[in-house]
């Protein structure tokens, strides 16, 4: 279920103390799309350089039911989706226990892929059903004391300014609703050379990488 990650929890493994999971990457590539893989490798490298343990979910390979819109995660089993037996609780648990969540996705009509949406729709159990006001708008109150920073890394097959702008707005809006303390957005062209990918990721994600490094220190 936890493919491609090097480290999960602070455990002693063959004499070495492994760092605790501080960053979670949700990879939302659809089946057959391999354009995200080289970007993901670079992203994981940057995250690990902060000293953080990283957990990486390949969503397309993970059994995950879609949200049924029933709000039982607020009423019947507060804080938990009523669906047990799939990866929902594991993913939401990893997200809320982390300092940074990264949504890696093909930019899909300006938004996230369906794989990312499936996981994100299941995340409403992380907030309270009650309300708070932010900038004249209603949002949900926090459930937890600590929320992760949020980064969106979008991959575009062709340049598209409109989609880039919408993607940025969506990440910002999610950060507001999920009470994320720091946000960053990076949109990359599919097939970009590794040096460009590294440079652009490092520059765009600087605020959240800095946040992560401070939490690790």
């Amino acid at each position: 279920m936890n493919k491609g990650s090097d480290v999960t929890h602070a455990t002693v493994d063959q004499g070495a103390v492994l760092p605790a999971t501080r960053a979670v990457v949700l990879n939302g590539a659809l089946r057959g799309d391999e354009t995200l893989a080289p970007i993901e490798s670079m992203l994981l490298e940057l995250l690990r350089e902060t000293g953080a343990g990283v957990r990486d979910f390949q969503l397309r390979d993970i059994p995950l039911a879609h949200c049924q819109g029933c709000f039982e995660c607020w009423l019947e089993t507060p804080g938990l989706c009523k669906v047990d037996g799939d990866a929902g609780r594991e993913i939401t648990g990893a997200l809320i226990g982390s300092d940074l969540m990264v949504l890696l996705t093909p930019v899909t009509f300006g938004g996230y892929s369906s794989e990312i949406k499936k996981a994100m729709d299941r995340s409403i159990c992380l907030v309270s059903p009650f309300f708070r006001r932010v900038g004249g708008e209603v949002h949900h109150k926090r459930r937890y004391r600590h929320y992760p920073a949020l980064a969106g890394v979008g991959v575009l097959r062709e340049p598209d300014e409109e989609q880039e702008r919408i993607f940025g707005t969506l990440v910002e809006r999610n950060a507001l609703n999920l009470a994320s303390p720091v946000t960053a957005v990076c949109v990359l062209p599919a097939g970009a050379p590794p040096t460009v990918v590294r440079e652009r990721l490092a520059a765009s994600l600087e605020p959240v990488l800095g946040h992560l490094a401070r939490r690790v220190a």
Partner: protein
Amino acid sequence: MSARRAVLLVGSARPRGTGNSEAIGSYLLERLAEGGMDTEVLHVSRTQRPEKERQLLQAVDGAELFVLSTPLYVDALPYLVTRSAERIAAHRTATPVPSAVGFVALVNCGFPEWEHTKTALEICRVFARQSGFAWMGGLGYGAGEAIGGRSLEEVGGLIRSLRQGLDVAAEALLAGRPVPEGAQALLARPMVPSRLYTVLGSIGWLRAARRKGTLGKLGDRPLE
């Protein structure tokens, strides 16, 4: 001349007959039917299997107007809608599109301000562009939960401006025009002041929790 046809796709994951998106979409569809269009209603939760998906693709390709009525999930379109949109776009870019089809999006959300739906409406516009639909406009509606899954007529005077806005939209769509801005202005009118809505909403959660015996647990932190 072949009949004019409108297809409604309901984007809610809730069971048929219980969702707010269905109530809003059905109201618009009824106005279109009164204006002489043939109509068909499909539910996104029932169009995920391959044979049902084929039906959806055929219905959309054969329509004059494709209407999506959906809830907002986490600031965007729900998973099921996003997945269907991916499949429709892939289908319509891979095969020659038989005829011009218009696409209109209705997005309702739980918070009282309709502005929360803006990003999802923009996503719908890009979906239309990438799938070869003529963008006929989008409408956002806040406080959708107040509909309670009832028909808009049943909800009554509280949502009069929602019905009026949908009437204006239907009139334009029947005339082959995009939804005019005035329709959104009508949907933007709050049914009750925002603070009252959140107070009533909170009372609603507390009552529901009391019925379920979870009143003292609503703030639980099971994942901490």
